[in-house]
Each structure stands twice: as structure tokens, then as C-alpha cells.
């Protein structure tokens, strides 16, 4: 922090603040990153990639929920061809809305050509929360890639595909 203070107190400085100041502190509160980390400790991995799959991450625990257009609550939900972490937030919001609005949630996975673990975490969480709420989630016409990826991750049974 001393370096940061030096910068801010120096009127001749052309740098408003020091983005690296956190490195001087013995903290593990690292700045955010989008990197995916290889790890055999899945909890650490999830934390590192900004996706929390713990039980306390259920849909109801969201502190704030952005507004979503009404038609976003329509079921079936049609999954796009490429599903990765960049799309998780939007998909999460969409699925929350659908889960609230319907007792039967249909998800069309026929076009899925690429899907990452972050998206699968989301779908597993949806399935679990639907069970708690006595609602049903069905995956319609899952693509071969969707099935293959779910199989690789051992999620065929929990997703019921």
C-alpha cells in the first residue's frame, strides 16, 4: 500500500493508482480472473473459475437478480450450439426465470456442439433445485456431443439423459 500511497500523494505522478498494490499484502484476495485452472481439487477449481457449485449456490440464494424479459421464462429452453463460461450468467438468469414459472422445464439440447463444465454445473444445479421444488426438468433430443460430454463427466444419471 505504501507504493500506492506514494503514487497518489505525488502530484507529478501520471499514474492514478497502482493496480499491483495487492501484491504487497500477504493476502489471497487475488484480483478477478477468467482463467480456467487445472486442479484435482474441484472446490478450489470452482472457486478459481468463479463458478460456485456448493450446495449454498442454489437458485434461491442469489442476493440480487437482474431483470429479465418476460419471454425469457418460456419453456422449452433452447440451448445454443456453444455453451461456455461466458454464457453461464445469462443462462443462469434464464433458467431461474423458467424454474419459477413452470413445473415442467423442458430443455432442448439438440443443437449443442460444445459445452463446458461450468454449463454442466449449472444444469446439475437446476436439476437438484427442481427436485427440491418437486418440479421436473427434461432434456429433449440431446445432441451426441451433449451426451458424450455428460458421459465423460459422469452426469448421465443425474441429468437423466
Amino acid at each position: 500500500m505504501a507504493e500506492n500511497d506514494d503514487i497518489e500523494s505525488n502530484k507529478n505522478s501520471l499514474i492514478g493508482y497502482d493496480p499491483l498494490a495487492w501484491m504487497d499484502e500477504a493476502s489471497e484476495d487475488y484480483p478477478p480472473t477468467n482463467a480456467i485452472l487445472p486442479d484435482d481439487d474441484i472446490a478450489e477449481l470452482q472457486r478459481a473459475i468463479g463458478v460456485n457449485n456448493d450446495d449454498d449456490s442454489s437458485w434461491e440464494n442469489e442476493a440480487s437478480q437482474p431483470e429479465i424479459a418476460d419471454d425469457d421464462s418460456d419453456s422449452p429452453v433452447h440451448l445454443s450450439a456453444t455453451l461456455n463460461i461466458q454464457h453461464v450468467v445469462a443462462l443462469h438468469e434464464r433458467l431461474k426465470k423458467v424454474l419459477t414459472a413452470h413445473d415442467l422445464i423442458e430443455i432442448n439440447a439438440s443443437d449443442v456442439a460444445s459445452i463446458d463444465t461450468a454449463t454442466f454445473q449449472l444444469l446439475v444445479a437446476l436439476k437438484k433445485d427442481a427436485v427440491k421444488l418437486q418440479k421436473i426438468v427434461i432434456f429433449n433430443s440431446p445432441s451426441p456431443r451433449f451426451i458424450e460430454s455428460a458421459k465423460l463427466l459422469g452426469l448421465l444419471e443425474i441429468l437423466d439423459v
Binding site: 507504493e3 505522478s13 489471497e28 478477478p32 480472473t33 477468467n34 482463467a35 486442479d39 477449481l45
Partner: protein
């Protein structure tokens, strides 16, 4: 054998320029160098004069379809290149177990390069799976840095990534910073450099690579600066930088 990833998630900081010219300069000094183009854009290969990339590169080796030896192109004396290959981008899209996907490059490098002194990995300007593979495979990280505020901001994010990797993998990377595209007459350049020296004491290589038009020109001719203008200041900068890297010569600043 030292495995060095040339990384900066920010674009335009001189990763590929540093990769091509530093690797050539180290190779000229007599060391055996293999440089891997891990950026799907394939600019490193172009910079080294390989324009037709009809055959595969590191993409096929990472997929286990070819061995590393099969992908090697001898581009200069003591300098080997492994191109990105046309399907490298697809690796970012691979699904499956994340831990396993992070191993692809490390596994590909297990055999076939034992006679090399250095393996350099020219990384893409991103923080996706390819960079994960590079961080998994390397022991040293070389970070080209421009001397502007946004580069500091980008470095902060990169260091967050590196710290996480160190914690998860229980390893400690040897860090090197290279000041690239340096414009010594700008006041902010010196201030950025001072900040870097305060946070990375004895990790900033002694020679700053100054911004010159020659460095921008040589890739289109498929030549490194050592060939394009061997007596230029930029060529001398890179020869000195290679010596810094080999001998661990660094800048000293206040802490």
C-alpha cells in the same frame, strides 16, 4: 531443459515479437531452442517465415494424433518451430474433465525434445484453456510488458492467475519481465518501470526493448530483427536481452 511460457493476457505487448527475436538470439548464442506457437493466430510462424501451414502443429500433438518430433520445423540453426496448426482453436472448445484438458501440452512435451536447452511457448492473449496448458507445462514465465497504465492493470490480472496456479499446483514459477515497446522519452514509461521494479525486484531483465519501426517491419518479410537489420539498435537490444536471460541480468530498483 528450461520450459518458459511467454505470457501476457493483454494484447499488443510484444509477446510474438519477443518470442521470435529472443528465441533467435538465444539460438544464435549456441543454445538449442524450440519455440511453440500456442496462439491460434499463427503469427509467430509467419514472423519466422513459415506462411504455408498446411500441416498440423502443436494442435495435433496436444490431441495425441502426432508426436512432437513429427511436428518440428527447423527454421534456423539451433532454432526449431512447432506451429499452432489449424485446429488449435478447437482445443479451447474441448469438453470433458478440466484437469485432464490442462495436461495436454505437458503430456505432449514429455518426450522428443530432450536434446533442447530451452522450450519457449508463445501464448495467446487470453486466459483460456491454451494458457492453462502453458502454465501447466512451464516452470518459468516471461512477461513482456509495455510501459503504460493498462499494461499494469493487465499484469495485475495475470499475477492473480499465476498466484492461483502456484497455490493449486503447489509450485513456484520463476518470473521474468521484459520491458518491450519502450519509449524512454515518455515520463509515464519511467513511472511504470519504477512501479514494476518495486513489485518485481530483480525480476525485470536488464535490457528494455525500445519501440522502433524496424521491429514492426520485419515480420512481413519472415525475418527476425537479427536478419532484417542485424546492426540496428533493436537487434542489439535483443542480443543483449538474450544475454540477460541466459545470465540472469536484471534491473535494480527501489523497494
Amino acid at each position: 531443459m528450461r520450459v518458459v511460457a511467454i505470457i501476457n493476457q493483454k494484447g499488443g505487448v510484444g509477446k510474438t515479437t519477443t518470442s521470435a527475436n529472443l528465441c533467435h538470439a538465444i539460438a544464435e548464442s549456441g543454445k538449442k531452442v524450440t519455440v511453440i506457437d500456442l496462439d491460434p493466430q499463427g503469427h509467430l510462424a509467419v514472423s519466422l517465415g513459415i506462411r504455408l501451414q498446411q500441416h498440423g502443429g502443436i494442435d495435433e500433438a496436444m490431441r495425441g494424433e502426432k508426436t512432437i518430433q513429427e511436428q518440428i520445423i527447423q527454421v534456423r540453426h539451433n532454432l526449431q518451430l512447432i506451429t499452432s496448426g489449424s485446429r488449435l482453436q478447437e482445443i479451447e472448445q474441448l469438453t470433458g474433465n478440466v484437469s485432464h484438458r490442462g495436461d495436454l501440452l505437458k503430456n505432449a512435451l514429455q518426450t522428443g525434445l530432450d536434446d533442447q536447452d530451452f522450450i519457449f511457448i508463445d501464448c495467446p492473449p487470453s486466459s483460456g484453456l491454451l494458457v492453462v496448458n502453458a502454465l501447466f507445462a512451464c516452470d518459468e514465465i516471461l512477461i513482456p510488458m509495455t510501459s503504460d497504465f493498462l499494461a499494469l492493470q493487465g499484469l495485475s490480472h495475470l499475477m492473480g492467475t499465476v498466484k492461483r496456479f502456484e497455490k493449486v499446483l503447489k509450485k513456484h514459477y520463476t518470473l521474468w519481465l521484459v520491458i518491450s515497446r519502450y519509449t524512454p522519452n515518455r515520463k509515464i514509461s519511467k513511472q511504470v518501470l519504477n512501479i514494476l521494479l518495486s513489485h518485481f525486484p530483480e525480476r525485470v531483465l536488464a535490457t528494455a526493448i525500445k519501440e522502433t519501426t524496424l521491429l514492426a517491419e520485419c515480420p512481413s518479410f519472415g525475418k527476425t530483427i537479427l536478419e532484417y537489420s542485424p546492426e540496428s539498435r533493436s537487434a542489439k537490444d535483443f542480443r543483449k536481452l538474450a544475454n540477460d536471460f541466459l545470465e540472469g541480468k536484471v534491473m535494480y530498483g527501489r523497494k
